[in-house]
Symmetry: C3
Subunit: 151 residues, 3 copies
């Protein structure tokens, strides 16, 4: 087992996978931040101590909260496949330099994507960073399946 974490490619995968996973987790607190600053909750018990009038207001949706949630969901839809494909790809023995290119392109594109989403950059910046990240995952999947294929 120790052998796995002595492998350079696996170490690199662990580092980048941890970074994008932490970035994804942070979308939770970002959403909470918007909930509190914009005053927009979705559970009765979250606004229990308020008056009835205030409750009604606080339980309405707010566009900034919904935007953060869409950004989080987009992360789930893209970072999870990166982890799945990337883990198997890292185990299939690629050379370090091409593995690093895949991990770096994906990580950079997803960090940019989050800023583009939350700060509402003009399109097509968000669309392009989304496509670039997906392309990195597809390229790893192609590499993986061309080495390992047992149906």
């Amino acid at each position: 087992m120790a052998a796995l974490m002595e492998n350079e490619v696996f170490k690199a995968f662990s580092t980048y996978a941890a970074i994008v996973t932490l970035k994804m987790i942070l979308m939770g607190p970002v959403t909470s931040y918007f909930r509190f600053t914009r005053g927009s909750f979705c559970n009765e018990e979250d606004v229990a101590r308020k008056s009835d009038e205030e409750k009604k207001k606080l339980l309405m949706s707010h566009p900034d909260v919904e935007r953060a949630q869409r950004c989080h969901r987009n992360d789930l839809e893209n970072i999870i496949p990166f982890f799945f494909i990337g883990l198997l790809y890292a185990l299939s023995g690629p050379n370090l330099s091409s593995a690093l290119i895949h991990f770096r392109v994906f990580t950079a594109s997803r960090i940019f994507h989050s800023f583009a989403y939350i700060l509402a950059f003009p399109q097509p910046s968000r669309g392009l960073s989304y496509a670039l990240g997906m392309f990195a995952t597809f390229s790893m999947a192609y590499n993986l399946l061309s080495k390992v294929f047992l149906l």
Copy 2:
């Protein structure tokens, strides 16, 4: 590490896991396809160059887009647990033939499920394919925990 990818069960897992993950990723472009053909977006910046009247129209939700999103979400809710349980199950040393049955049943049921969802097949076809996929995951979890259990 090379040893891992020389193991037949792990190779089979890698192949089927890559296939269902790619299928899951593709729900992103499918949703985009419905967004563009049905004219239904959710971010202001996605319709920036349109007139105010058009904007209002383009920012309304559309049932086909919502259907694709529900299908995507259902994939996340089912394919992710398959990967988690399947990876640990593949590492726990099952025999190849019973592992293949699990992977094939799950993969086939999820591919059918997507068609059943997007094309709105009459029920209970979608419900049954959902249950079948879940059953394959439960069966692997049972096999895993009966071999490896350390609380």
Copy 3:
């Protein structure tokens, strides 16, 4: 490969990861239970045999169904990062006792969180269990990255 499943830490990770994954999967049937008992569906084909008037009613959303879905989504947002970080952490060779603390705290906090969400416990019980689980994941990520870091 057999070596991996002879490692105590990896066995413990497999056990706890399987438990929280099964808990996450079960949110699917919980949502279905609320759909049927509350009569709230979202696809036309799910209510195909009903009269037009009944259909309209059955396709309206219900707060209990939405609550179960939010609970499920919160699981996806937290249990998936736990699996990613936990797997890499388990492979980085921590000692068994500190690994067990992390796995147990996370598992307990997420099981409590589900009850707190579905049964609408008064706050801040749900918020605290959410934060505790996230803290366990952050602590594993810190341990992992302090041992393995290759950018």
